[in-house]
């Protein structure tokens, strides 16, 4: 198991390493002089720009810049933001808990709603329940989540006044988490349904039924457990999708996470912050996938040796 975890961690490190190369290149792909674009604002003189160029090492050859970047990274230094001149790492870390709370809450919503719907549809396969659940899922997949968010906001916060709109407490998490969770529940419902249908068709479920065990026990103990395996393997990807979806949803609800920060950074062309965000995002997603893979290995012993 230790070796398996080590392998997965190594793969995650490769991902993060490639991300560091990508973000170093990013600044050079921007057309024009990056220093002038970033710092050429009100009252900056050419001498000041030259000084900034030297301070940031942007006058060096690119491979040196990359080593320089890695060196600073090793000390946890992601550079300083252009807007407000503050350490990027600090900004990301203070904002990240909000994004994590949103992503995990919506993951729970997506899993609970999506898997129940998918399981129910598979169990009642071919009936109107199945058809209804799948129509719902197709609609859910097709609905833009920022629109769903606006509809929920309009209905529950502005029209009915049930939820606070400008607070930072847990109640203001409800709408964004529902928005993001429901949109992804639809995807999970479709996946669960097809996974469960495969399981229901397998011999061991039939055998269990033939033995006369009560149906419910059969379903839960055997089918659900085997059905979980492929679904858990998808959770890493789901987490990544939710993190990506959070970028948009945070902007609908003014949720104060890294996603809103990222959009503001793009508008402000705050490249150090954009670079930091991409690297941070890639790292979080890579680590999440390690965790999911390990959990998956615990659930399904066969995987460990493959």
């Amino acid at each position: 198991m230790a070796r398996f975890i080590a392998q997965r961690l190594l793969a995650a490190l490769v991902t993060i390493w490639i991300a560091t190369i990508a973000v170093t290149l990013l600044i050079h792909l921007v057309p024009g002089d990056p220093v002038r674009i970033m710092y050429g604002s009100f009252q900056t003189t050419p001498e000041q720009l030259e000084e900034i160029r030297q301070r940031l090492g942007l006058d060096q050859p690119i491979w040196k810049q990359y080593l320089y970047y890695l060196g600073r990274l090793a000390q946890g230094d992601l550079g300083r933001s252009i807007v407000g001149d503050q350490p990027v790492a600090d900004i990301l870390l203070t904002r990240f808990p909000a994004t994590l709370a949103l992503t995990l809450t919506s993951l729970v919503i997506a899993v609970v709603v999506g898997m129940s719907l998918g399981f129910l549809a598979a169990y009642k396969r071919g009936t109107w329940v199945d058809a209804g659940a799948m129509v719902l899922a197709v609609i859910g997949v097709s609905m833009p989540h920022f629109w769903l968010g606006l509809l929920l906001l309009f209905l529950f916060a502005l029209q009915l006044g049930w939820l606070p709109v400008a607070g930072g407490d847990w109640k203001s998490l409800i709408l964004p988490a529902l928005t993001l969770g429901l949109a992804n529940a639809a995807v999970l419902a479709r996946m669960t349904r097809s996974a469960m249908i495969d399981i229901f068709d397998q011999d061991f479920v039939r055998t269990a039924r033939a033995k006369g065990l009560p149906r419910a026990v059969v379903l839960y103990r055997h089918a659900l457990r085997s059905g979980l395996v492929p679904i858990v393997s998808m959770l890493g990807l789901q987490f990544a999708y939710l993190m990506g979806g959070a970028i948009v949803v945070e902007n609908v609800f003014a949720w104060n996470g890294v996603g809103r920060l990222a959009i503001q950074a793009v508008f402000a062309r705050d490249y150090p912050l954009i670079q930091g965000f991409i690297l941070f995002f890639a790292t979080v997603v890579a680590l999440a996938s390690v965790i999911v893979d390990v959990a998956y290995a615990f659930l399904d012993p066969r995987i460990r040796y493959s």
């Binding site: 674009i37 604002s41 807007v83 407000g84 503050q86 350490p87 203070t94 402000a268």
Partner: protein, 517 residues
């Protein structure tokens, strides 16, 4: 920080609550704005959102009265030498920084040295040609200039000159620590979310145009970021928020129902104007610039978008700023005249089959993008196809400069709806004296005229110099005023909040504020 907390729990608070007669615990005021401050370091940002927070944490040597004239504040008096190159300030005794250290001449020197240091203030040149700061004794300080600078005293009343205590040496200064002498001290800044300020019980009002001579009545001021106008309005209605900018389209309904007070700031110093990339076609030709000015109708646009909450501004410096005179400026202005615009374009060889192609830069927020959409439609009618690009103000500053510095760029030159808020016509020097903030329009004649606006101190004479510059900028369609004020100037206030004032140049003041009931 520790001392502040202790004091809040101490006798001052008991006295305050007893005086209000309600027995209510700490009074907390929530002010919601569309965005957050960029930095709490007055040398590291230029946004109005940042300045409005500095105003609460820091104080300035001078202060504006409601008319925008600078007067004594932390500096009780000052002397200017014969040659106008030396300013000696006498500081008030007994002012304390939030950390309990006394505020004195060393703090003034610290602030100015810092503004000119290795990592200079973003608005360094607005301090003027300062060559030295000398501490004469703890309560007097001398500032030396290399040449006369008429805008120095007003600058010392502006937030960019906020006095920073010399104990701000931690590298967290500006992000999680900020020590000043203002009416509130920093408790916590959750970036992007809220800034929590506690009242400074030691605060003495020496020059702000409010009634309260001492510390604020409210105990806590929370400045919260709520980007969506509709959300801010909903939060105002539920009482989660006390003061916020409302959605403009809802203002008439709010005024009619009277459930919230609408306060409109005056004398904001804000000017929204057209400026052009003059280094390449089409706007290197004055006729193209004039065509844009004639081809757009600011009055109609602001009536639609801002429901009459702002004014047509003819001058390149806004109402409330020295040199502003609507009648004077209007003679050189460009009234809406689409036919005239088309004539000018036809002279240049443009026509219905050959429209002038260009791009208009606009900065995000304040419904300016909607205004731009109206201008875009108006320009289309006279034969100008203007694409719109919406961007952050920092990006726009950089892009405008970059455009001017790219004379060989094959794409058509751009123009932009630029915005500046300044307390003095010296902004014209900073924008248009070569090399210029944006490397835009400049020539020796204009440079000489602008020099004179700095070195002429006597008001009557200076007015002449300033108006000569205004006339030149307008006749050449370099800086064409559109409207004023332009951003964050409308406040909806809950009825239980009393005493909320907005000083000139959009400095909200909270020391008089009480929450009733």
């Amino acid at each position: 920080m520790r001392t502040t907390r202790k004091r809040i729990l101490g006798p001052a608070l008991v006295a305050a609550t007893l005086a209000s007669g309600h027995g209510v615990a700490a009074q907390e005021l929530v002010w919601a704005r569309y965005g957050d401050a960029d930095s709490l370091d007055p040398h590291r940002a230029t946004s109005t959102l940042s300045m409005q927070v500095w105003d609460q944490i820091y104080d300035t040597l001078l202060a504006f009265d409601m008319e925008g004239t600078p007067g004594p504040n932390m500096a009780t008096s000052w002397e200017v030498s014969e040659d106008g190159l030396e300013y000696t300030f006498a500081l008030a005794d007994g002012i304390l920084c939030h950390d309990g250290t006394p505020f004195d001449a060393n703090d003034v020197k610290f602030t100015i040295d810092r503004a000119f240091g290795d990592n200079p203030s973003l608005t360094r040149t607005s301090w003027g040609p300062i060559t030295g700061v000398e501490v004469l004794d703890p309560l007097s300080v001398k500032v030396t200039m290399s040449s006369k600078f008429g805008a120095f005293l007003p600058f010392l009343a502006d937030s960019f000159s906020s006095m920073v205590c010399d104990t701000n040496t931690a590298d967290t200064f500006g992000s999680s620590t900020a020590i000043g002498t203002g009416p509130f001290s920093l408790v916590e800044w959750v970036k992007g979310d809220q800034i929590v300020l506690a009242k400074n019980p030691e605060f003495t009002n020496l020059g702000d145009p409010v009634d309260n001579p001492g510390a604020p009545y409210i105990d806590t001021l929370i400045i919260r970021t709520v980007p969506e106008p509709q959300t801010r309005l909903a939060a105002l209605r539920t009482g989660e928020v006390h003061i916020a900018e409302p959605p403009f389209d809802d203002v008439p309904a709010i005024q009619q129902s009277g459930d919230l007070d609408i306060i409109v700031a005056e004398n904001t110093g804000q000017d929204v104007f057209w400026e052009f990339t003059v280094s390449r076609p089409p706007f290197d030709d004055i006729r193209a610039r004039q065509a844009v000015a004639y081809g757009t109708d600011p009055q109609m646009a602001i009536d639609i978008i801002y429901s009459g909450l702002t004014n047509r501004e003819w001058c390149p410096v806004a109402r409330g700023v020295f040199g502003n005179d609507q009648e004077f400026c209007e003679q050189y202005g460009y009234p809406y005249d689409p036919d005239k615009a088309m004539e000018l374009l036809a002279e240049m060889g443009y026509g219905p089959d050959n429209p002038l192609e260009t791009t208009m830069f606009v900065w995000t927020g304040g419904n300016r993008h909607k205004l731009a959409e109206i201008f875009q439609a108006q320009l289309a009618q006279v034969g100008i196809n203007a694409a719109i690009e919406i961007m952050d103000i920092g990006t726009m500053n950089a892009r405008v400069k970059e455009q001017n510095e790219s004379p060989d760029d094959p794409s058509p030159g751009t123009f932009d709806m630029m915005t500046w808020s300044w307390y003095d016509p010296d902004i014209l020097y900073q924008l248009w004296h070569s090399p210029g903030a944006y490397s835009g329009f400049q020539n020796a004649e204009l440079d000489a005229m602008l020099e004179e606006t700095r070195t002429t101190i006597e008001p009557g004479a200076r007015l002449e110099k300033v108006q000569a510059v205004i006339k030149y900028l307008m006749e050449n369609a370099v800086h064409v005023g559109l409207y004023s004020p332009g951003w964050e100037w409308v406040f909806a206030v809950r009825p239980e909040v009393e005493g909320f004032k907005i000083g000139p140049f959009l400095h909200p003041i909270f020391t008089d504020v009480k929450i009733e009931g």
